[in-house]
Subunit: 368 residues, 2 copies
């Protein structure tokens, strides 16, 4: 098996082969359709930390000696195919999310819907450029979602499928974990926009979003999926899921801090992005609860609108002075340590354990 640090490049190779095989299909339908595929390819290939694939891969190693499926080169290919598939789910999630959040920038570039809106304007087409941009991005996201399933299940384009030994489909129960993961992330996203619309500020609602939209989808299900591919038993699958929820919540809390305090050069997002977007994060909830009245109004007035540098600095001041930043850092440490403690006693071999620990630190202590 690969070292964890080599997984992103190996996943990129699978994705690149897939995009090369699908490009002629789109081109042959009509040249302008090829533009849609090219935009998706560029979006996927020029960004992303490949966090989810690394968790799938780390999970795959956990069953170790106890695996019921012996690892052949073909098993290795399948694991990488699943890793690549999850990056296409992520592409759909981000492309559609950016429509929902009306975001202009992603990974330092225009979002897909803004890109097609700009193309519409540049070509001087009729009607409504913004509506065309949204429509194109809806369909490109749909294509990413459909292709994710094709990669996962081995429904590969004839150009890359080995016809003599055709791709093996992923069997149940691994496919059931994949199913559950996709339902959860979409449900989490639906809950997120609904909470925002209804103004539901209950802790339960916010926690559920964090659990399903991020923790389950980014860490818990990928770990469980990898382990299930490797033949892990019910016990190990449940344990890895639990570890993943702890680490995934810590990951999201770190994201909340970076969303306000992150360096745009590292995050690829504008300064104070979460404030401008009006995201109801745990960080914000703690600050609104802890700040005094004057500070609370400063914060409330800094949410969901364009801010200049002085206003961003003032909002950041409230988040620090109210103790909210320290509280979130504390929660990150608690969740990370809970995860690490469970990894410590996991019934797996030492190299798998080392990978899990490295990933746990990496996602909770990061600057982008």
């Amino acid at each position: 098996m690969l070292n964890l640090t080599d997984v992103p490049a190996a996943v990129d190779a699978v994705l690149d082969e897939f995009f090369q095989a699908t490009a002629p299909i789109l081109e042959s339908i009509y040249p302008t359709v090829g533009d849609g595929g090219a935009a998706l390819r560029e979006f996927v290939m020029t960004g992303g930390k490949r966090i989810r694939p690394m968790f799938v891969y780390a999970g795959r190693r956990c069953p170790g000696d106890k695996i019921t499926v012996s690892e052949t080169p073909r098993d290795g290919d399948e694991t990488l195919r699943v890793c690549a598939a999850i990056e296409l789910i992520q592409a759909c999630a981000l492309i559609h999310d950016d429509i929902l959040d009306r975001s202009d920038t992603r990974r330092g570039n225009p979002t897909i819907h803004r890109r097609f809106e700009a193309l519409h304007r540049a070509r001087g087409w009729g009607h409504d450029p913004a509506h065309y941009g949204d429509s194109a991005a809806i369909l490109i996201g749909d294509l990413a979602l459909a292709w994710a399933d094709d990669l996962f299940h081995g429904a590969l384009p004839v150009a890359i499928a080995d016809q003599t030994t055709p791709p093996r489909p992923i069997p149940f129960p691994a496919s059931a974990v994949w199913s559950q993961m996709r339902t959860e992330v979409l449900a989490g996203q639906f809950l997120d926009i609904t909470n925002e619309a209804s103004g539901d500020e209950s802790t339960t609602a916010a926690e559920r979003v964090m659990t399903y939209k991020t923790a389950a989808y980014t860490v818990a299900r990928p770990l469980e999926l990898g382990a299930t591919l490797g033949g892990a038993d019910e016990n190990m699958r449940r344990e890895l899921h639990g570890i993943g929820i702890d680490l995934g919540v810590a990951f999201q809390l770190r994201d909340d801090l970076l969303g306000v305090f992150g360096d745009p050069a590292e995050t690829g997002k504008p300064s104070g992005d979460d404030l401008v977007a009006g995201k109801r994060t745990a960080l914000l909830a703690v600050a609104l609860r802890s700040a005094d009245d004057a500070a609370r109004s400063v914060l409330r007035e800094s949410i969901g609108r364009t801010l200049d540098d002085a206003e961003i600095a003032a909002a950041r001041g409230v988040l620090v002075d109210s103790g909210a930043v320290a509280e979130i850092e504390r929660q990150i440490a608690v969740r990370r340590d809970a995860g690490l403690a469970r990894i410590d006693v996991l019934d797996c071999d030492e190299s798998a354990r080392a990978d899990l620990c490295a990933l746990a630190h990496r996602i909770t202590d990061r600057s982008r």
Copy 2:
């Protein structure tokens, strides 16, 4: 195997079981998420002619005695699962299409995005009801697309998967046909909105939309998919695909006529809907080419805006008087007869042939 007329009810039973099994998953995430699932369920269960499932089923019968996979009850279940899966693709296509076309009504009911916009208003939530409606509909469509793949590949919720004999995944090459079909319908849709934005009125562009968005997706690939599931050889698969393109184009041309002349009580769409929506159909293209200058301006002024009854009647008059309606009827007959001629010499048993003929007539000679 079932009689073709019994297929819709059998497909509905599979869909109903699936929705019953997934509802508690969504409910357990959060009650408001359950509302999204309930809307999808109602959308799927209360409408639709189940045309695509019938073509899958008819295709499955074609290999007949020559099938390489003998039919067991389990094979029958798989065929119905594939039939049900394609209805969920259709749900995604319609729900997202309605956002793209800004449609208010579908199957006589409010479209999904309008439904959630209305729910937002009724509950007096903040921000932008229309944007919430679109966002909810994007995610509900995504869920339908993800669930379609789950049903197709047997990645069933644990509640309905038989754990002792877990669902068998659909093997290559049937999965490759499914993949191709999904790529084609999304590409056709992308091409459609791009032609409309760019004002591309070339015959090639319009034909490609008709081929990929409708003919391949509605008839050709479902037929081929069913036959591939039944173990059909390359020859039969290619032949059924060709038949499907002929019949599918005829189906779309009939749809173009119904889009202007259809009875709202039967089609579930407002009178003259395609004119108001500004769709660039073959019917319109022929009329614009054949009408005299005065009639052509009447027609051009009737496209893409709200029309009163007199205006609809005037536009219809031009379509008839220019000979466009007769020309489209002629093309429907040509395509239908070409398909029927090829069905006539298809190397399959007589009951399968009778089913194909019945479907060919049904989709080309209909009032809804």
